[in-house]
C-alpha cells in the first residue's frame, strides 16, 4: 500500500466510488502519452498537406527539400500505394494522396528530419503542381449528377453523382401506419457537423528493429484495427508488427481509425532504420477530423388518437466529406436506434451519404444516432404539445418495454428509460415549469438510447470481440492482459474492478496491461461503447477461469467443495464458515503447485439472436442498450440571442455502476459535450477551407460557459453485462442536445430547426425570419 493508495478488495470493489487505478499517474504527470515518448536517434516527421479541395496532382518534385541539411527522407503517394479504410467496403484512402487530392489538408507527402522545425521548413520546399477541379462542398451539390466540367470525387464509383451510400429499410406496413394516424407531423432539421477536439493532438512513434520487427505506439482507440491496416499497407506480416496504445488524451471517436501519420511513422522507421515520431498540430487534427457528420433529416411521424406512434419515416442525408471512413455504418446508425427508445407501429428509414471535398467525417460520441435523435426528440416535443401532454409523461407512455423487440427487430433487454425520465422530471420539477416560465426562461426534456457495443465486428469474422488473460503472480499480484485502449473513459479501471471483484483481491493489487498487440488478446477497440460490456465480460470470464482452479485446490485444503469457496478481502474461505480460510496468496501458490502457471483466459462474443435477418441488419444490434433522459434549463437573452444554460440534469441507465464516480464523470462530460454541440461547436467552411481550424475560433465551452451538471445514475440489472453493467460513455450525450433545443423553444416560443443554436439563429427565430426549414421534395434516392 502506497501512502496515497486506497485499499479495497473484492465484493466491495464493484459499486465503490474508488479512485481510478490510472488516476495516480494522471495527477502526477507520470502518465506517458504517445508524444511524451522519446527514443534514441528519433526522427521527427511532418505531413505536407493539400492546399486544394479538389485537384489532380500533376507532379511532385521534392529534390530541393531533400537537400536541406537535416532532412532524412521524403515519401509520396506512390511509395505507399495500397488503399485502406476502416470498413472493408470503403478501402478508399492511401497514406499520401495518389493522382488527386480531395480536401484541403489531405496529406500529399511526408518528410522526416532530425528535428521538427527542419521537417516543417523543408515541407515548404516541396514543389507540387496541381490541376484544380471544381469542388463539391454541400450535400445538395453532391446529389447532382456531375456535368462535363466536373469530376466525381471518387471517379471509380458506379454512380453519376457523388453519393457514397444509400440505405432503404422498411419495417411493418408504413402506409397502413400512416393511414392509422390521426395526426401526421412532418418536419425537416439540420444538424451541423462538429469535431471531437480531444485535448491531446494525435501522435505516433514507430521504431523498426534490425530484425525487421516494427513497434508502433499511437494515440489510438483501436490498436487492433491499426494492426490490421498497418500490416496491409506496409506489406508486412502482422506477426512482425506490434501496436501499443499508450494512454490516450481523449478520443470521443476521433482516434478510432488508422490515419496517415501513424502509417507514415511506421513507413519511415522501416525506411530509415530509426525511430520516427509524428505529432499532429492542432490544425492538422481538424483536417484529420472523422468527426460528426452534418446531417439533414426529414422526419414524418404519424400519431394515433391515443398518442402512440403508428408510423415513422426518417430520411437522412449525410455530408460525409472526402472519404468513406466509418460512413456506411454512420449512415445505418442515423436510422437504426430511434425505435430502441419508443414503440412504433411501422418504421421506414432512408439514408444517403454523400462525398464532399471536406475532411472526412466519421464517428463522434453517439455515432450517427445523435443527429436523428436531436430531430426526433424535437419533434416529439411538438407532438406532446399538440396533444396537450406533459413531455416527460408522454415519452414514458410510448417508451419501449424491457425485454422486448423493437419494430426493426432489435432485441431489448434491461431498460431504465421510464426511471430515467421520472428522475430528471422530479429532480427539476419539470412539469411545474414547462410552458409556465417567464418569457426568456425555458426548460426542455429529451430521452435516448444507445448501444453497449456493436453486435457485429467491423470486418466479418467468427472470433470473439474481446479477449482477456488474467495471470496471478506468486506474490498475489494479478495482471490482466486485454487489448483495450483507455482514452480517459476508464477502461483500465473497469477491468481492474471486475477482476478484483471476481478474485476478492485489493484493486491496487491488480495491474492492467492493455492495448499491446504482442502481449494482449484482441479487443476490437474503444468505440461503440463496447468496452465495459465486452472486454468487461471477457476479463470476468478470465478471472473466473482462474478462480475455478483456485477453488478446486483451496476447497481441497479447506475440506469443502470448490463451490463453497468464497473470495473476498484477499482471502479464500468457506462460505458457510468464514473462519476456515486461506490467504489468496497461499491459495494461488498451492494452485500453481498443483496445476502449473496460474493464468486464465476469457473471451466475449455477442449472442447471435440480436437482430433480424435482412441486408443492413448488422448495424444497430447490441447485446444491451443504455437509456438516458435529460432536462436542461436555459435563459435566453431576447436582445442578443445568447442562450445561457443554467442547469443540466442528466440521468443514465448504465446497468450496474461498476464505479459510480466514473459513471458520473461520463455523464457530466456528456452533458458538457452535448451542450457545446447544441450551442456553439461547428465545422465551418469558407471557400473550400475549414474556416476555423484552431481552438480559439472553434468554440468549445469553457468552465465559465458550463453550468451546474447533475448526474443521476440509474441502475438496472443487466443480466448479460459484467456484474450487471452497461455502457456510460456515449449514450448520455444524445438527449442533451434536444433537451437544450426544447428548452430554447420553451423559452422563446419558437422552434429552431438547426444546430448549433447560435445567438444569430435565436434572433432569426425571434424575428420570424427563420421558421421551419423549407421542406424540399424528397430527393429520389437511386438504389444501388
Amino acid at each position: 500500500m502506497g501512502k496515497n493508495g486506497a485499499s479495497h478488495s473484492g465484493s466491495h470493489v464493484v459499486g465503490a466510488p474508488l479512485p481510478r487505478i490510472d488516476g495516480y499517474a494522471k495527477v502526477t504527470g507520470a502518465a506517458i502519452f504517445a508524444d511524451d515518448m522519446a527514443l534514441p536517434r528519433m526522427l521527427f516527421g511532418k505531413l505536407l498537406r493539400s492546399p486544394h479541395a479538389h485537384a489532380r496532382i500533376l507532379s511532385i518534385d521534392y529534390a530541393r527539400a531533400l537537400r536541406i541539411p537535416g532532412v532524412v527522407a521524403i515519401a509520396i503517394g506512390s511509395d505507399l500505394p495500397i488503399r485502406y479504410g476502416i470498413l472493408p467496403s470503403a478501402q478508399d484512402e492511401t497514406v499520401f494522396a495518389i493522382d488527386k487530392v480531395r480536401y484541403v489538408g489531405e496529406p500529399v507527402a511526408g518528410i522526416v528530419a532530425e528535428d521538427e522545425l527542419t521537417a516543417q521548413t523543408a515541407a515548404a520546399l516541396v514543389d507540387i503542381r496541381y490541376e484544380v477541379l471544381p469542388s463539391v462542398m454541400s450535400i445538395d451539390a453532391a446529389l447532382l449528377d456531375v456535368d462535363g466540367n466536373g469530376e466525381k470525387i471518387h471517379p471509380d464509383s458506379r454512380r453519376d453523382n457523388n453519393v457514397h451510400k444509400e440505405v432503404h429499410l422498411t419495417f411493418g406496413d408504413l402506409d397502413a401506419g400512416f393511414a392509422d394516424a390521426t395526426r401526421i407531423f412532418d418536419d425537416e432539421y439540420f444538424f451541423e457537423g462538429n469535431t471531437h477536439a480531444a485535448l491531446e493532438e494525435h501522435s505516433a512513434v514507430a521504431s523498426c528493429g534490425a530484425d525487421g520487427k516494427l513497434t508502433l505506439w499511437s494515440s489510438t482507440q483501436t490498436p487492433h484495427y491499426l494492426h490490421r491496416v498497418a500490416s496491409a499497407v506496409l506489406e508486412l506480416p502482422a506477426s512482425r508488427i506490434r501496436i501499443i496504445a499508450p494512454p490516450v488524451g481523449g478520443g470521443f471517436g476521433g482516434k478510432t481509425e488508422p490515419v496517415a501519420h501513424e502509417l507514415a511513422a511506421a513507413y519511415f522507421s522501416r525506411k530509415t532504420g530509426r525511430p520516427v515520431k509524428f505529432t499532429l498540430s492542432r490544425e492538422e487534427v481538424f483536417y484529420t477530423h472523422r468527426g460528426r457528420h452534418p446531417v439533414r433529416i426529414h422526419l414524418r411521424t404519424g400519431i394515433r388518437a391515443d398518442g402512440s406512434i403508428s408510423a415513422c419515416r426518417v430520411q437522412t442525408w449525410l455530408d460525409g466529406g472526402a472519404y468513406g471512413s466509418y460512413g456506411v455504418a454512420t449512415t445505418y446508425y442515423t436510422g437504426a436506434l430511434l425505435p430502441v427508445t419508443y414503440k412504433m407501429g411501422a418504421y421506414a428509414f432512408d439514408g444517403c451519404r454523400v462525398y464532399t471535398n471536406k475532411p472526412p467525417c466519421g464517428p463522434k460520441r453517439g455515432h450517427g444516432t445523435t443527429q436523428p435523435r436531436y430531430a426526433f426528440e424535437s419533434q416529439l416535443d411538438e407532438i406532446a404539445k399538440e396533444l396537450g401532454l406533459d413531455a416527460g409523461a408522454y415519452r414514458a407512455a410510448i417508451a419501449i418495454d424491457p425485454y422486448s423487440r423493437t419494430v426493426n427487430h432489435l432485441r431489448v433487454t434491461s431498460c431504465g428509460l421510464r426511471e430515467a425520465l421520472s428522475a430528471v422530471s422530479e429532480r427539476t420539477g419539470f412539469s411545474d415549469k414547462h410552458g409556465k416560465l417567464a418569457p426568456g426562461r425555458g426548460i426542455g426534456l429529451a430521452a435516448s438510447a444507445y448501444l453497449c457495443g456493436a453486435g457485429l465486428p467491423i470486418y466479418w469474422n467468427p472470433m470473439p470481440h474481446s479477449g482477456a488473460i488474467v495471470k496471478v503472480d506468486r506474490g498475489g499480484g494479478v495482471t490482466i492482459f486485454c487489448g483495450t485502449s483507455d482514452c480517459g473513459q476508464g477502461s483500465q479501471n473497469m477491468l481492474a474492478v471486475i477482476v478484483a471483484e471476481a478474485l476478492g483481491v485489493d484493486v491496487l493489487d491488480v495491474s492492467v496491461c492493455s492495448g499491446d498487440t504482442d502481449l494482449t488478446p484482441v479487443d476490437l477497440g474503444s468505440y461503440s461503447s463496447r468496452v465495459t460490456f465486452m472486454a468487461g465480460n471477457a476479463a470476468r470470464s478470465a478471472a473466473l477461469d482462474v478462480r475455478e482452479r483456485i477453488a478446486v485446490v483451496a476447497g481441497a485444503e479447506l475440506g469443502i467443495a470448490p463451490e463453497r469457496c468464497a473470495f473476498e478481502n484477499g482471502r479464500v474461505f468457506d462460505r458457510k464458515n468464514p473462519d476456515r480460510a486461506l490467504s489468496f496468496i497461499d491459495a494461488a501458490r498451492a494452485t500453481e503447485a498443483r496445476f502449473g502457471t496460474l493464468a486464465g483466459v476469457g473471451s466475449y462474443t455477442p449472442p447471435a439472436d440480436l437482430h433480424g435477418d435482412f441486408k443492413g441488419s448488422g448495424v444497430g444490434p447490441s447485446p444491451a442498450y443504455s437509456y438516458s433522459a435529460c432536462v436542461a434549463e436555459v435563459e435566453v437573452d431576447f436582445e442578443t440571442g445568447e442562450v445561457r444554460v443554467e442547469r443540466i440534469v442528466l440521468a443514465h441507465d448504465c446497468g450496474r455502476a461498476l464505479n459510480p464516480r466514473i459513471v458520473e464523470g461520463q455523464i457530466e462530460g456528456s452533458a458538457y459535450m452535448g451542450m457545446g454541440e447544441a450551442l456553439m461547436e461547428e465545422s465551418a467552411f469558407r471557400n473550400d477551407l475549414h474556416r476555423i481550424p484552431n481552438l480559439l475560433d472553434y468554440k468549445t465551452p469553457t468552465i465559465l460557459d458550463t453550468p451546474r451538471i447533475d448526474a443521476i445514475v440509474i441502475e438496472t440489472k443487466e443480466l448479460e453485462g459484467p456484474y450487471g453493467a452497461k455502457e456510460a460513455g456515449e449514450g448520455p450525450l444524445n438527449p442533451v442536445i434536444p433537451a437544450i433545443a426544447n428548452a430554447v423553444a420553451d423559452a422563446i416560443g419558437r422552434r429552431i430547426y438547426a444546430t448549433p443554436i447560435t445567438p444569430e439563429r435565436v434572433l432569426q427565430a425571434l424575428d420570424g425570419t427563420a421558421g421551419p426549414l423549407r421542406l424540399r421534395a424528397p430527393i429520389a434516392m437511386k438504389t444501388t
Partner: protein, 331 residues
C-alpha cells in the same frame, strides 16, 4: 508540435538598451513583452524577425502610480492582471479594470502587458491562420498578398483592433509615451491608432511604448466597458463598447465619450453619440438615442466569428447596455 521559427533573443535591461537593439537591427527585429500575441503569430508564420528584443527585464516599466492631482501613470510592462488588482484603477478607472479582466484568460492576463494589449496586432479570420492555410486560401493584404479578402476592392487592410483596453484608454483620454533613438514623444491615443489594419499604429519599428498616462477623470465620471463574445473566456471581442460620462452637481452631462472596438482597425469614438448625451440628464431614452448613433457609426465587416449583420445589430444593444451601466447609478 507547432514551433517558433529560429531567431536570436536579446533581452534588454533598460529602455535605452531596448531602443538601441531595435535601432541596430532595424526591420529585422521585433520587441516582445508578454509574448502572448507575438509568439502565437510567429508560430503561424506571420512574423519572422531575425532578432527578438525582450522587454520583460525592464523593471522600470512595471510600476503603476496614482496621483490625485495628475492621474494615473502605468508602465507599459504592467501585466493586465496587475492592472485588474490595482485599487486605484478599480476606484478611478473602473472600465479599465473591467476591460483588462476580460482579456483572454487568467494566464494570458498574467503574461500579457498593458503595452502589449494596446499594441495588439490587428486580427482577421484571413490573417490569424497558419502559413499553409493562408497559402490555400490565397494570401491577403496584411501579409504576403495584395488583396483584402474581407473587402475585395479596399486598398487598405480591414483587420480589426481587438484590444479590450484600447477603447477604454481612448475613453479616458490616455496619452502614450513612445521612446525611440531620437528620444521620447507623447501621443494622444486618438493619434496613436490609424484605421489601416496593416499599419495599425504610429509606433515606429525602433520605438517602444513605455508608459500610458491617464488624466484624473472629471468629478462625477462614470465609466464602463462591455464586450460581445461567444465564450466567457479566451475570446477576443466581436464588438466592444467603452463609455465614460461625467455629470455636474445638477446631474447634467458635461462630458461623454463612447468608443468602440472590433469594428475597425482602430478604436472608433462615436462623437455623435457623445454629443447627444452632453447637457442632458442621462436617462434611458437619451441612452437609446445615443445607442442609435453607435449603431449608425459602427461598420463591422465579415472578418470575425459572427456575421457582420449580427455584429451590426449588437452595436445598438451593447451600446445601450454599456450606457445603462453608467446611467443606472445616477437614478
Amino acid at each position: 508540435m507547432l514551433r517558433l521559427p529560429a531567431f536570436e533573443f536579446q533581452p534588454a535591461r533598460s529602455v535605452d538598451e531596448a531602443v538601441t537593439l531595435l535601432g541596430e537591427h532595424g526591420d529585422d527585429a521585433l520587441p516582445v513583452a508578454g509574448g502572448t500575441d507575438l509568439y502565437a503569430n510567429m508560430k503561424l508564420g506571420l512574423f519572422a524577425p531575425r532578432v527578438v528584443v525582450g522587454l520583460r527585464s525592464i523593471t522600470a516599466l512595471r510600476s503603476i502610480r496614482f496621483d490625485p492631482q495628475h492621474g494615473l501613470r502605468i508602465g507599459a510592462l504592467c501585466s493586465l492582471d496587475a492592472i485588474v488588482r490595482e485599487p486605484a484603477v478599480a476606484e478611478h478607472y473602473p472600465a479599465l479594470a473591467q476591460a483588462a479582466a476580460m482579456v483572454g484568460t487568467p494566464e494570458i492576463r498574467n503574461m500579457g502587458t498593458i503595452g502589449g494589449n494596446l499594441c495588439l496586432e490587428t486580427r482577421c479570420n484571413y490573417f490569424n491562420q497558419s502559413a499553409e492555410w493562408r497559402k490555400a486560401m490565397g494570401y491577403c493584404l496584411k501579409r504576403d498578398g495584395n488583396l483584402c479578402r474581407v473587402a475585395l476592392h479596399s486598398d487598405t487592410c480591414k483587420a480589426i483592433n481587438a484590444s479590450d483596453t484600447a477603447p477604454v484608454m481612448h475613453a479616458y483620454d490616455a496619452r502614450l509615451s513612445l521612446v525611440g533613438p531620437r528620444g521620447e514623444r507623447t501621443v494622444n491615443i486618438r493619434e496613436f491608432y490609424q484605421n489601416d489594419g496593416a499599419h495599425a499604429n504610429v509606433k515606429r519599428a525602433d520605438e517602444i511604448l513605455t508608459e500610458i498616462a491617464l488624466p484624473l477623470p472629471a468629478r462625477g465620471t462614470r465609466s464602463s466597458y462591455r464586450k460581445l463574445r461567444l465564450r466567457k473566456a479566451f475570446d477576443f471581442p466581436l464588438l466592444g463598447v467603452a463609455v465614460a460620462v461625467a455629470t455636474d452637481a445638477g446631474g447634467s452631462c458635461t462630458q461623454a465619450r463612447i468608443v468602440l472596438n472590433a469594428v475597425g482597425s482602430a478604436p472608433l469614438e462615436v462623437e455623435a453619440a457623445g454629443a447627444i448625451l452632453l447637457g442632458t440628464h442621462l436617462g434611458e431614452e437619451i441612452a437609446a438615442d445615443a445607442a442609435e448613433e453607435v449603431f449608425k457609426a459602427g461598420k463591422p465587416l465579415e472578418n470575425a466569428n459572427a456575421s457582420l449583420l449580427y455584429r451590426k445589430r449588437m452595436l445598438r444593444v451593447i451600446a445601450q447596455r454599456t450606457l445603462e451601466d453608467v446611467i443606472a447609478p445616477l437614478r
